[in-house]
């Protein structure tokens, strides 16, 4: 309970720092929202007028605290460029990014765990080599490259899908999911490779432990040992890793949404940075940071539940 309180405190402090940093970063990069809004029709007078309309002529910290005050009350503000409520804009986008994240995470778990267990059980030099090489290769290639490759191969050459022709889940969930499958897979592949490598190593380590010999001497089957004893121990580091992956996948969507032109939160984030649309950027950054902190917290909690040693301590 005490730990939970501590974690919650960390969460709030982290979000405060992240939001402040994002805010300050905007003061450093050139241009402000009025620059893009006025474009090539800007004059110094017009820019000044618009700046005061948007309240940008006030001191940085006044603006930050004002934003903070509204934010804690659940008011995300109004986009400078779209003039829409940020919450309204995000309500369209969040489901898409969440769907992509969940799909990618599911793919990681569903593919990596069976593969990892299989690879852990098989003791064959050639299989070992093959797994090792495949793992290294997949881990080394970043998701966006897979994405570009997939777009080119399946979109342009084979025409399995039309890159950029994303159908939102609100219109057709099936079509939406099928479009998201390749980006989700691109995000999942390096993580699948890492999970397989980890699970395999972890299983093989555990299999050499004394308790395995004891169990075997008691007449348990190989599979029974694996399931009842080995896996339980071998999964501990893997679960932590998967939780961290869940956080990484969410942030990974920022890039992969660009590659596949998916109108999710990541795309909105990048374009909002481009137009210096501060209320939108700030909201997204805080949501993403919160997600990362919460997922890490969940990982801790899971470990705590699985590992009796930590429960005792």
């Amino acid at each position: 309970m005490k730990q939970l309180g501590k974690k919650l405190f960390t969460l709030i402090i982290t979000l405060l720092i992240v939001s402040l940093l994002a805010f300050l970063a905007f003061q450093i990069i050139p241009g402000d929202p009025t620059t893009k809004m006025l474009g090539t029709n800007a004059t110094p007078e017009k820019a000044a007028q618009l700046r005061s309309q948007l309240g940008l002529d006030r001191p940085v910290f006044v603006r930050y605290f004002e934003w903070l005050l509204h934010f804690v009350r659940g008011d995300l503000g109004i986009s400078y460029t779209y003039k829409m409520q940020v919450s309204e804009m995000l309500s369209d986008k969040l489901p898409i990014t969440v769907l992509l994240t969940v799909l990618s995470f599911l793919l990681t778990v569903l593919i990596a765990i069976p593969l990892g267990i299989a690879a852990g059980r098989i003791k064959n030099r050639w299989v070992d080599h093959a797994v090792l090489i495949a793992d290294q290769l997949l881990m080394a290639i970043p998701p966006f490259f897979f994405g570009i490759l997939a777009c080119f191969l399946f979109g342009i050459i084979f025409r399995f899908f039309t890159p950029g022709n994303f159908i939102p889940p609100s219109e057709d969930l099936g079509a939406s999911l099928s479009y998201l499958l390749l980006p989700a897979l691109s995000l999942a592949l390096p993580r699948i490779a890492m999970t397989v490598k980890m699970l395999r190593g972890s299983i093989q380590d555990e299999l050499t432990q004394n308790y395995v010999y004891t169990a075997r001497s008691r007449g348990l089957s190989q599979w029974g040992i694996l399931r009842r004893h080995v896996l339980r121990n071998a999964m501990i580091p893997v679960i932590t890793f998967l939780a961290v992956s869940a956080a990484e996948i969410m942030t990974g969507t920022i890039i992969i949404e660009q590659v596949f032109t998916i109108p999710g939160v990541g795309r909105l984030l990048l374009s909002s940075i481009g137009s210096r649309d501060f209320p939108v950027v700030q909201a997204i950054v805080v949501i993403m940071a919160a997600w990362i902190v919460i997922v890490n917290f969940a990982a801790d909690l899971l470990n705590f539940l699985i590992d009796p040693r930590r429960r005792a301590g």
């Binding site: 050139p30 090539t40 004059t43 499958l181």
Partner: protein
Amino acid sequence: MAKKRIAALLSAAVLACSLSITGFGATQETEAGSDIKTASSGETVEFVVGIPQDLDDSLDPYQITAAGTREVMFNVFEGLVKPDPDGNFVDAVASSHEISEDGLTYTFTVRDGVIFHNGAQCTADDVLYSFETCAASTTSTAVAGALSDIADISADGNVVAITLNAANSSFLSTVSSVSIVPKDYDSQATAPVGTGPFRFVSRSVQDKVVFERNDDYYGEKPALSKVTCKIYEDNNALFTAVDSGALDMAFHLTVDQVNNLTNGYNVIEGEMNLVQALYLNNAKAPFDDVKVRQALCYAIDVDAILALTEDGHGAKLGSSVYPSFSKYFDESLVDAYPYDPAKAAELLNEAGASGLSFTIKVPGNYTPHVNTATVIVELLAAAGVNASIEQVDWQTWLSDVYQGRNFEATVIGFDAAYLSPDALLQRWVSTDGSNMIGYSNPDYDEALAKAQSTTDDSEQTEAYKAAAKILSDTAANVYIQDLADFVALNPEFTGYEFYPLYAVDFSKISPA
């Protein structure tokens, strides 16, 4: 038991993979389905357009700043008069208009039966409100300037009379810029309401904007019942989408793209309506020397640029007016500086600037400008000028180059925000806030002021041409081209027309 579980896991993985395959099949089917839907003509004709930029802008007609927003919202808003594809002003919300002999009084009769998209009747009151609101809040300095010159505006029944302080024969273009909106309606920024042939339905950020036919439209009702603008900020994605047949129309395609189009769509060629030039910082040495600027004009072979970047398409300019502005376009300026590297070297020598070297800052997100800059660098190298390209992002370009004027040269295109030569020429008046290049020429200021105050139409046209000629004579910039603009249209539709300003008119498109 345990084996079963793992088998279930594996089969789930297999299922996920097989789903992917059937899933892709399904996507293609829906595409084919949408084609069938659009093919059936009659009352409901749905039309899907790919647009190359998001409407990341206020939709309030007086607050719209992006050309990309303006060209689409052209279908929603109308002024008392509006431009037609030839650049003339035709009556819209007004059923007729009259201009007094002295050019000071404009009388508009508000058309009977004009109904706003929210169902309200349009009255002279709304017109007065629109002029008042526009004058107070427009982001266009030119429109604000012209409106501030109104001495009196009043309504008598359904007749609105506007009296000007001084005659301004391009005042009709200002009138066309004042979109008529319902009085005291305050959600224009997100739920715009106008009188145009289409009404705004919804906008989903970075995804799409939907319009529907205005069934109450006073004029000829559009053939299309619903227009969905799908947003493709990635130009390649736009191309693949249109080529796959998922879209009925895409505009602002490049020559390479239309050459690679395989789906049999009709390609319509026009121009972008912008003045692409190598803009030179006239306030900075060595470009404050007219000889240096002229030398660059001689050293740059515009035909070569057109051939290399646009496959010979595009239109040469010569000055800050583009050709579809046919009334004010001066053909004779196009070849004012024929390609002559020897003469360029000689002029540079005279100016003491041989061995000139400078940097061209280009916004990297605009491929056509980057391409043009690349060819310019090669052409200049042949003339002994060492130019280099620095690509910057659009924000940096706007704040650093455009507003900060911290540059030597840049390649960019300026468009006309409204249908008047002022939209293109006013910018270079020495005191104008948007005079990015710091062009300062009393002769030019005087020539333009004269053009603006002339009431006789043909005299005024000549005066504008004279002003544009000064820009050419003094080589204010190295004028390159109005980029070719290509529209790909599903052969089941017809009627696309280019306008001399940023406008895409959906009301003219109909099933073939």
